[in-house]
């Protein structure tokens, strides 16, 4: 009787372990961020350049700009997308990743410019975005004017 109980116990334990292993195999690994590629990434399009060469770093447009050093190694922009809405305005979206083991909070805003890089409208209000550890969060914003040529998304540390 004792042997039977032991055998049944072993079988049950084996089933549970196998189940956990199968689950672990199907789950994705924890997100790891490699900032080297992002840092090497140069301007992707027309950029604002100082009149005196070498006095400032060019800011790539149609991109995400991290403006605070404190979060430069914590928050990684994974993707930036733009599309036209039904009313002709532009909707931009940035997917951000929290590369730390702690919850993060950032403020994000967008500047929409016309084809000549002049401001098409006042920059948007700062929107607060919360990011859970090792997870993504999406920031979305829409323009109010229709003739948008470029945009710039800025990410600052949340107060």
């Amino acid at each position: 009787m004792k042997k039977l109980v032991l055998t049944m116990g072993k079988v049950a334990a084996g089933v549970i372990v196998a189940s956990i292993m199968a689950h672990a195999a199907s789950a994705q690994n924890v997100v790891k961020c490699d900032f080297r590629g992002f840092k090497k990434l140069g301007p992707s399009g027309p950029a604002i350049v100082s009149g005196v060469a070498g006095t400032m770093t060019p800011i790539a447009l149609n991109s995400v700009q991290i403006i605070d050093k404190n979060i430069a190694k914590k928050i990684l922009p994974q993707g930036v997308f733009a599309r036209r809405t039904d009313t002709g305005t532009i909707e931009v979206m940035a997917r951000l990743i929290n590369c730390t083991d702690y919850p993060q909070e950032v403020l994000v805003r967008t500047s929409f410019m016309d084809i000549d890089q002049f401001p098409a409208e006042p920059e948007t209000a700062w929107q607060r975005v919360f990011l859970q550890p090792r997870s993504t969060a999406v920031y979305r914003e829409m323009s109010i004017s229709m003739d948008i040529g470029y945009y710039l998304i800025e990410v600052d540390e949340g107060e």
Binding site: T85, D86, T87, M142, I144
Partner: protein
Amino acid sequence: MTLTRVTNFRVTQVACATFLTGMLAACGPAVDNSPGVATISQDPGRQGAVAGVGIESNDIQSMTDRMMRDMLGNPMLANAANPPQVIIDSEFFLNDSTQRINKDLITNRLRVNLNRASQGRMVFVGRNYSNMVQHERNLKRDGVVDTGTTGMTAAQAGGDYRLGGTIASADSRDARTGMMQRYTQITFEMVDLERGVIVWSGMYELSKAAADDVVYR
């Protein structure tokens, strides 16, 4: 006996004089002339120097900006063949929260920015100015003043849609630490004034916790 009385009287006199001198001296140079805190100009779009758990300037800017952009992305409101006539004021924008707040701060910013941004895609009816308009209409029709340059209409403009909404909150407090927490939910809805259907909705939520004793007025 008499000598002792005189001595005691003099001692009392000296003590009183010393006390009064000391009091006067204390009133003089001991005034606190520290400069205090100088005025700080702040960006209303960012959290200010005095912040609590309620709705603040940066929240108002953020929520109205988001609602305005969302409305302009709605084809029913911003892409209609005939620009809809909308009313945006605080008449049906209710404050059911625990915070005292001037609702006009929200609705005025929303209306002004939406009016500037829509560029004719929406027409805004100033219902709060209806008495002023009616007074002028009466003067024109009584012949007291001329008809102006833009012509006369049969009646004032009616609204196709009107803003409604609610500010609601849920408060909690930790009695041990004194920490306060408030979840605030602000809903915005555009209601069809003929059929009563809601053609657009937006929501803004914020949750804040603090132990500072900030009072909202």
